[in-house]
Symmetry: C2
Subunit: 420 residues, 2 copies
């Protein structure tokens, strides 16, 4: 049997310096979110296969790592050839597990319930720079609050977390994009598309950043949509400017395709959240924002760093999922931070980050030392630890000079050698 | 498609109060271990199936959650009917991943490398009270140090972590049991058993606590061992007293079945570690300590709380595993804390534990509030957060009295209501 020393494809070993940065950032995230009243929770990394393949996760469902049945059950499944060899799978996000969690533990939780969940998720995606098959997500969610207070708290908290994390490396300009699934639907219906073609239309719109208006038009025609509808849709999109407000844009929809309440909600959300974040953060209504997950029902939002062409946080309202677990509809809204992307950016700017460190002392003992000498060394080490220092007791190696150099480069400011 | 609201069998949803206790304990574990120079690392929860089934994990290998191949590879495996449908699996401990990690990252790591790894492991075991299918392990390991300095640091650090964790609930009496695989082997050979029957002998010895000397004798005879050898083995075990030292016990082995160096190592380890721990902690040589994992090669140790009939930490030396990944033998020694057991005991004594908490304020806004009122509420919340308080802004519910009661019982000391 051959042992393989590399990690499973697309997954990472974290070195001590990686962990230091990750823990430093997680500390800021936890502290900030907790100041908004979010409580930490945890769910298992495995979920029932039924919950993962229930058409909530969109494209992510194709990327599930499935966990095999065991023992007699596996035997039966193999014999029956019905292909249901898996009884569980690795979660591809934290939202489906959270919805299950809420349905399961509702009786023990306060309403609204403000959850902070930090954990690994798994997708059998093609690995590339900054994209892994096991990666960390940091989610905050407010469950049981159908009002826009939830959206406002989520957006303000997340924008403020990002401002805090990036301030040290001199990045402060973020843009929060806000839209609503109901506006996306109204836009499509107004242009003449049917409800059935909505998802095809949104898949094209989602490519705005990459292929532009002309590309969208071309793709929609190629997908067999009526030229007339496509024209009307494109001319609607042509009205968009970075400064356009939700009510201004919705005027173009005419004929009551959208309720006034939706428009007012978005404007109030933007106004209130704006008053709670750093002045360098832009909050804008963005009718081209789509977001991929199938489960969103209302508001959707994303945060991008100005100058980077990807989002570092995204979320929205998903009022329908919890009901699928509990038969009781519960409004829900969440925001997820792209932790690995943040780490990638910070790693490129490590020289600007100073993490607080304790003084580190190494005590090196020559080989063959008597138990008396060892006792002396260990007692000295305990004394220094009680004074708040980090102390490591190790054998003195033959090449002491090299050993000391290595220790110094690993942050040991004091190295003491004890000879026989 | 039916959605299932309970977690996967044997796995747990962690409520906010669970997480508070877990984080509180993890904080103490991390801080104490870091003062000994251990650095945090992380490995993926999935491992190559080859690494998990290489006969290192003993009984645990039967309990592996296997992860299925995907796409074309799965198709090929199904058609070939060779049953190798899995390409990876969930780790059943942190030691095998750590050994792989060290072999893979050796060039970037200092020697000796002192690792702290906290993470979930997975075993498809029969669930029961305090035993889960996903559970947290906290391991410290020293890699690249073949001297007893490693054992001493590991034992002292772990005993001191436990003393710190349990001091609040009034538990201070622990016993550290120390033995060596080489002594176990010498005992068996001395009694006349062959090398091949060693594992059968040890499986019986491991039941000492449960079935006693008579039970062991009976089981060995039933297993077909020669009565003469069994007699000699039992009479050897009859010499054991709680106070017996390693050198005293080894005298009974006679005829040089064990090297003097091994005896001296154990005695020095016990003496040095004893000087570093709380006076309520007993360190003893225990020739009946076996430990199940197949990979141990030298010293083995366990810590039990006096009065509880299970161990809460265990470990030992495993000098052979890393070489299976890197073709280069690297000495290694580790200690693992049974985190879930600690949590179970602390949970039974929650009234004695005080965790530091920030002041919590709730601001409740009546439904239908104007954007001006909302702005006022959010600005007040931000001001209080900047003062270090935890503030949650929520809708005022119809039954305000019940809502306030709930908030107070969840730790909110101040609740402010804002009406239209």
């Amino acid at each position: 049997m051959k042992f393989i020393k590399t990690p499973v494809k697309g997954m990472c070993d974290m070195l001590p310096q990686d962990m230091e940065l990750r823990n430093y950032v997680l500390g800021m995230i936890k502290e900030t979110y907790k100041s908004y009243g979010f409580s930490e929770i945890e769910t298992p990394v495995m979920e029932h296969i039924e919950n993962l393949t229930g058409d909530q996760g969109g494209e992510n469902e194709k990327l599930i790592f499935k966990v095999m049945k065991r023992g007699e059950e596996l035997k039966r499944a193999m014999e029956s050839e019905d292909n249901s060899l898996a009884d569980s799978g690795m979660r591809y996000d934290l939202t489906v597990p959270l919805s299950r969690y809420y349905a399961n533990n509702m009786g023990s939780l306060i309403t609204p319930f403000k959850a902070l969940q930090i954990g690994n998720v798994f997708r059998a995606d093609k690995p590339q720079k900054g994209r892994f098959r096991q990666f960390t997500q940091c989610d905050i969610d407010i469950l049981g609050d159908g009002s826009i207070l939830a959206e406002i708290e989520l957006i303000a908290a997340t924008a403020n977390v990002l401002t805090r994390i990036f301030s040290e490396i001199g990045i402060s300009k973020f843009t929060v994009h806000v839209n609503d699934r109901r506006i996306l639907k109204a836009m499509a219906l107004f242009a003449g598309f049917s409800e059935e073609s909505l998802s095809s239309v949104l898949i094209s719109l989602d490519k705005m950043d990459k292929i532009g208006l002309d590309g969208i038009k071309e793709e929609m025609i190629a997908n067999g949509h009526l030229a007339e509808n496509v024209e009307k849709y494109i001319s609607l999109l042509e009205n968009i400017t970075p400064e356009i407000s939700c009510s201004e844009f919705c005027k173009f929809l005419k004929e009551n395709y959208i309720e006034g309440e939706v428009i007012e909600s978005i404007e109030n959300t933007l106004d209130c959240a704006r008053s709670m974040v750093h002045s360098d953060v832009t909050l804008m209504f963005d009718p081209t924002l789509v977001r991929g997950m199938a489960y969103y029902t209302g508001t959707i939002f994303e945060i991008s760093i100005d100058g980077y062409n990807f989002s570092i946080a995204g979320g929205g309202r998903y009022d329908e999922i919890i009901g699928k677990f509990s038969n009781q509809k519960v409004p829900a809204c969440g925001f997820s931070i792209g932790f690995e992307r943040i780490i990638t950016i910070l790693n490129d700017n490590l020289d600007k980050i100073t993490m607080e460190e304790k003084e580190k002392v190494a005590i090196l003992i020559e080989k063959g030392a008597s138990s008396e000498l060892m006792l002396e060394a260990f007692n000295k080490a305990m004394k220094l630890r009680n004074e708040g220092k980090i102390v490591s007791v190790q054998p003195l190696s033959k090449n002491a000079k090299f050993q000391v150099e290595k220790l110094v480069s690993n942050g040991y400011s004091k190295v003491e050698k004890m000879y026989i």
